[in-house]
């Protein structure tokens, strides 16, 4: 009996390994992004997020190259006091540090006989000196300023709060709560995303519920053909229709309007939504509807009092899918809304400059845009689990 148990445990090991592996593959990068989004921009630029967990011992290169002259505490040469933050602030990167190391001091090479550090070592020395001079050597630093900067659309070199303190903020920032609605920021984009997503989720589900009921329970000629055609429409790729629809929208004046995006998402959400709703409603027992008709229900009453409550699992799953799809959509929003009323995805794609700077903002913005989908998923997921039909018929 004991051997059976050991065998069972052994047999499960591969499954467990695969599950754990998959979880790690997804969780580790996400965790990295989350940590990065809370780190100050200087730290993001100089060291990896994992150093938060195990602070790097960067004093090694300093001891190797600098300590012999500057001393262990950096104060050995008074005219070059390495514990002075103002002095260190002049060498934020390895490049500036290497430049001064290559210069002669009093006609002699800076480093004397010691070879120059590699650029990686120079970066470690610069980071160590910066942390050391600010009295934070070896501790991880966290800040929420990335989130604030992303929300208000701050694009400067320091941070929103610092600029506001010094009065050097950009012209479009007022340094009060109204900055949350700054068109360049994620706050405003969040509202725009909501304005796009909610109707673009509700409309297709509503239409699909009507259509699903009709296809499942109304007997009219050609319904199977019509249903097949509708489902077949799923093969039309969205990208193929961008140009023709954009031209139609131009004639109708719908380009750049929310209505245009709602209609587009509704149109492309419907085939799958109808397919799912029809199959779900078709699987409800026909006795239920017949009982309702005998009880005096019209089609409309049956739809409102029976179909909507019973179809909640289908509506919830459709809602989650459509919501996530529209919320995360960049292409349609880019084409039909563009920069006039930017949504979150559009704003995120604008966070990183062409030189790759600003991705501390990107990580914060990404997490801001993840918040609502998470809320939606966790609040609706119980509908997946619960069997709504239990008790309707003999079971």
């Amino acid at each position: 009996m004991n051997r059976d148990r050991v065998n069972r445990i052994l047999a499960r090991i591969p499954t467990h390994l695969i599950v754990i592996g998959t979880i790690l593959i997804w969780v580790i990068p996400t965790l990295g992004l989350l940590i990065t989004s809370f780190r100050p921009v200087q730290d993001v630029n100089t060291s990896g997020w994992w150093t938060v967990v195990a602070p790097q011992n960067v004093s090694g290169p300093y001891v190797q190259y600098c300590a012999s002259c500057h001393g262990a505490d950096g104060k050995a040469i008074p005219e070059a006091d390495l514990s002075d933050p103002n002095l260190i602030a002049r060498y934020p990167r390895s490049l500036q540090l290497m430049a001064i190391l290559r210069q002669d001091i009093n006609g002699k090479p800076h480093m004397g006989d010691v070879p120059l550090p590699t650029s990686q070592e120079a970066a470690d020395i610069a980071a160590y000196l910066r942390n050391y001079s600010s009295g934070q050597a070896g501790t991880a630093r966290f800040t929420t300023s990335n989130y604030v900067d992303a929300l208000v659309g701050y694009r400067g070199r320091a941070s929103y709060f610092q600029d506001c303190r010094e009065g050097t903020q950009a012209l479009d920032l007022k340094c009060n709560a109204s900055d949350l609605l700054n068109p360049r920021g994620m706050g405003r984009a969040f509202l725009n995303s909501l304005l796009v997503t909610i109707p673009a989720t509700v409309l297709p589900i509503l239409f699909a519920a009507f259509a699903g009921y009709a296809f499942a329970w109304l007997h009219f000629k050609g319904r199977f053909l019509l249903f097949a055609i509708l489902v077949g429409l799923q093969v039309v790729p969205l990208q193929m229709t961008l140009v023709p629809i954009s031209r139609i929208y131009a004639q109708l004046g719908l380009n750049g309007t929310f209505l245009g995006v709602w209609l587009f998402h509704t149109g492309f959400g419907l085939p799958y939504a109808i397919y799912l709703m029809r199959n779900f409603l078709g699987s409800l027992p026909s006795d239920l509807f017949e009982a309702a008709y005998l009880d005096g229900a019209s089609h409309w009453t049956a739809f409102r009092r029976l179909v909507i409550p019973l179809a909640m699992p289908a509506i919830a799953s459709l809602g989650i899918f459509q919501f996530l799809w529209v919320w995360n959509d960049l292409l349609v929003a880019l084409v039909f809304l563009g920069g006039t009323t930017p949504v979150m995805t559009y704003q995120i794609s604008n966070m990183v400059t062409s030189l790759g700077a600003g991705w501390h903002l990107l990580t914060a913005a990404a997490f801001l845009s993840m918040l609502l989908p998470m809320v939606v998923f966790f609040s609706l997921q119980r509908y997946f689990v619960r069997g709504m039909m239990a008790g309707a018929v003999k079971g």
Binding site: D287, D295, G391, K394, G395
Partner: protein
């Protein structure tokens, strides 16, 4: 409270004729049971009456009003489904009140009727529960209750007991009978179980292949089946049939079944005389075959030689599966019978209770 009439009703699904020229008149306050094998069209007949299927031709009348084109909800009928068809998201109270609410019945009236029906069915304590929290029998009561509160002219039952276990079925059978006496309304009840039909009905309509075979009271149906199908369908275990010939032998009419010959008593021979030398089917119910040693008094019996194949002791009786030549048949004999498997013996056919059917038309000869 209304009569129901089927007049030359047909229902076709494509080429398939589900209901074939059905003519039935159900009187007010009658309990009619439609019975037949699976797929015989009995449920379709009921659904035509409910308005869930459209009639292909003919007319259905409820209380002398033709309802062919009347919507189900305006026919003033209530139906109990085999699957109960309770609304899973509503409480038991709301399930029962659903139809009344849709008909804009006043709130107090709804409450009165639901409470009353719940008391009749003994489900007062369940009103706040959801259907999934109920057992099968309780759900069945709720389904009946939902029909009662509507106070319809006609109640329709579509195999309401076939999802219940055997014990519960017997109990619900009695309760539905009681309900019929109490409500004094027309009941139309569909089942494939002839026991249900026999125990509950005031009249039974036997249907096969879409056609009405016979409609009569349970006792008449049992004693005087109109044709071979009805004879075989009503009664359990089923009637034994022997293909054979009617023949004159020494001036007496006899049934020649090949392996045995039994003479027909003179007092019963009347109707058969015209059919001498015809192929017939001889039918006799298991309880009319007796062990040689336990024959009731005062009946005409004929001896038939058999071999015992299987015996089934039921306690109050014994089922004997007998072989006579190429015929196998069942006898329901006195439990004191000492016949054993493999034994060669004689059994006694009660010649006061037998049936003879025309081999071609399968109609009863009488």
């Amino acid at each position: 409270m209304a009569s129901v009439t089927y007049e030359n009703v047909y229902k076709r699904f494509g080429d398939m004729v589900a209901v074939d020229n059905l003519n039935i008149h159900v009187d007010d306050k009658e309990f009619l049971v439609l019975v037949g094998p699976s797929g015989c069209g009995k449920t379709t007949a009921l659904r035509l009456l409910a308005g869930l299927e459209e009639i292909s031709s003919g007319a259905i009348k409820i209380a002398d009003r033709v309802v062919n084109d009347v919507a189900p909800k305006d026919r003033d009928i209530a139906m109990v489904f085999q699957s109960y068809a309770l609304y899973p998201h509503l409480s038991i109270y709301d399930n029962m009140a659903f139809g009344l609410k849709l008909r804009k019945t006043p709130k107090e009236e709804i409450k009165r009727r639901v409470t009353e029906a719940a008391e009749v069915l003994g489900i007062q304590d369940l009103l706040t529960r959801k259907p999934r929290q109920l057992s099968g029998g309780q759900r069945q009561r709720v389904a009946v209750g939902r029909a009662i509160v509507r106070e319809p002219k006609v109640f329709l039952f579509d195999e309401p007991l076939s999802n219940l276990d055997a014990k519960l079925r017997v109990q619900m059978r009695a309760e539905i009978s009681k309900l019929h006496q109490r409500l004094q309304t027309t009941f139309i009840y569909v089942t494939h179980d002839q026991t249900e039909a026999m125990t509950m009905a005031t009249r039974i309509a036997v249907i096969n292949k879409g056609k009405l075979q016979q409609i009569d009271t349970p006792q008449n149906l049992y004693d005087h089946p109109g044709n071979l199908f009805v004879a075989g369908f009503i009664g359990s275990p089923a009637m034994n049939f022997f293909p054979g010939k009617l023949r004159k032998d020494n001036g007496r009419l006899v049934v020649d079944a090949g392996d045995f010959v039994v003479p027909i008593p003179e007092k019963k021979a009347g109707p058969y005389k015209a059919h001498a030398d015809k192929n017939i089917t001889f039918g006799i119910r298991p309880e009319n075959i007796h062990d040689e040693n336990f024959v009731p008094l005062n009946i005409d019996v004929e001896k038939v030689a058999v071999k015992v194949d299987v015996t089934e002791l039921m306690g109050n009786e014994i089922f004997l599966y007998l072989i006579s030549g190429k015929n196998t048949f069942v006898a329901r004999v006195d439990p004191r019978s000492s016949l054993r498997v493999g034994q060669q013996a004689h059994v006694m056919f009660d010649m006061d209770n037998f049936h003879i059917f025309d081999a071609e038309t399968e109609e009863t000869i009488r």
